[in-house]
Symmetry: C2
Subunit: 221 residues, 2 copies
Amino acid sequence: MTGAAEHGTDTRTRLLDAAMRLFTERGFAKVTVRDITAAAGANLAAVSYHFRDKAGLYEEVLALGLRSAQEMNAEVMLPREGHSPEERMRHYVRQYLPRIIRTDGRGGIYQLLKHEMSDPTPIARTYVRQAIMPRIEFLIEIVREMLGGTASDARVQRCVMSIQAQCLYFLPDPFKNLVAGDWQPGTSDQIREMADHIADFSLAGIRALGEARRGPRVRPR
Amino acid sequence: MTGAAEHGTDTRTRLLDAAMRLFTERGFAKVTVRDITAAAGANLAAVSYHFRDKAGLYEEVLALGLRSAQEMNAEVMLPREGHSPEERMRHYVRQYLPRIIRTDGRGGIYQLLKHEMSDPTPIARTYVRQAIMPRIEFLIEIVREMLGGTASDARVQRCVMSIQAQCLYFLPDPFKNLVAGDWQPGTSDQIREMADHIADFSLAGIRALGEARRGPRVRPR
DNA sequence: AGACGATTAATACAGTTGTTTGAATAGTTT
DNA sequence: AAACTATTCAAACAACTGTATTAATCGTCT
């Protein structure tokens, strides 16, 4: 009875779990080694021993997050051949949105990286390429197909941005809850409803921009 | 010649300027009092003397940001009566987007508050109500008018979210530059182009959701 | 049992942070 | 000029942080 392990797991794993949760909640800088070791029921020196230093632990946590993000990507980008771009897009949003919204511990790399937005670590660059860019490419492919081959790259990119922006808006954010807390979809039904809204809204937008070849520019003022 | 004032302004003003810039760049926690006083060419104790403490200085900076945000709101929500909702929406985005994007010092409250998203201060709540909510209400009004009186509150809210999300996506963000640095509109022409895209895209989306009274739900799988 | 390597524990250390203190200086009034 | 107030300054303080150190403990093998 050392007063430490409340679970059966070993210290190293408990540290990783606690660090994943805390880093996701508050970001690297705002979590102290003492916070982590206390939450894990471990000694202060355990971080140095098992992970060299705080940064080493953070890297391992990011690696875990990257893996879970890549698994997510696989599911989100599933239907490729044999489905219309509209179907692929709807499937994408329906799968992606719930994973963006959910706040449970291993919540994926996005919530981890969100804190890096304020002060990005060099590590971030790698993870952007490996976990985020593939999804962007996937969306580009879909949108280009819907707009038709004649659409300019810039137009395709803007449409991808519109989709991406609507999804990323739902990254858990204590701040946004102040603005419109009651709007946030909570139940899985509400999330599904929101996903379908984003799909419908965006499909209409893309369709309109695809038809008007030389920019609609309604009433140019 | 005390070695301090390089400008003609007094210490208090220099501290406010430096603090505004630094807090906007890095957020409250990541800026030290020594950073601020050094940037302002003032003594370390000047913050305590003029603003009670670091938090007091932060409050005054937020107050300045709130005022500039409210001035912005006035311009952004200008055309009300006598203009179609489409026109008001386009004007809104065209005015709002450049102010979101620009990164110059007194860049408004959004970039200040962005850092609070990670760890919100109680102060934030006030500023959300006074600077952000009015704009949301403005958008609600516009969207409701376009959707028609029969549209449910939830549907109106979702459309407002879609517009808001596309605009907020362009908050300066060192992280997003990694994802799609070259997409970011830089020149005022590019910004205008992006604003018109958001307006066109969203108008099409709203129009589609307005026509299909009982949800389009294309190919419900 | 004894020895050895791996792990955990308590404590100390150096650096940084926000804040305070008390003296020095500048500016104004009498 | 003297007195007084407002401001600036250098130095110090206490709290907190990441890390290193050294001893204690555990499990396993001979």
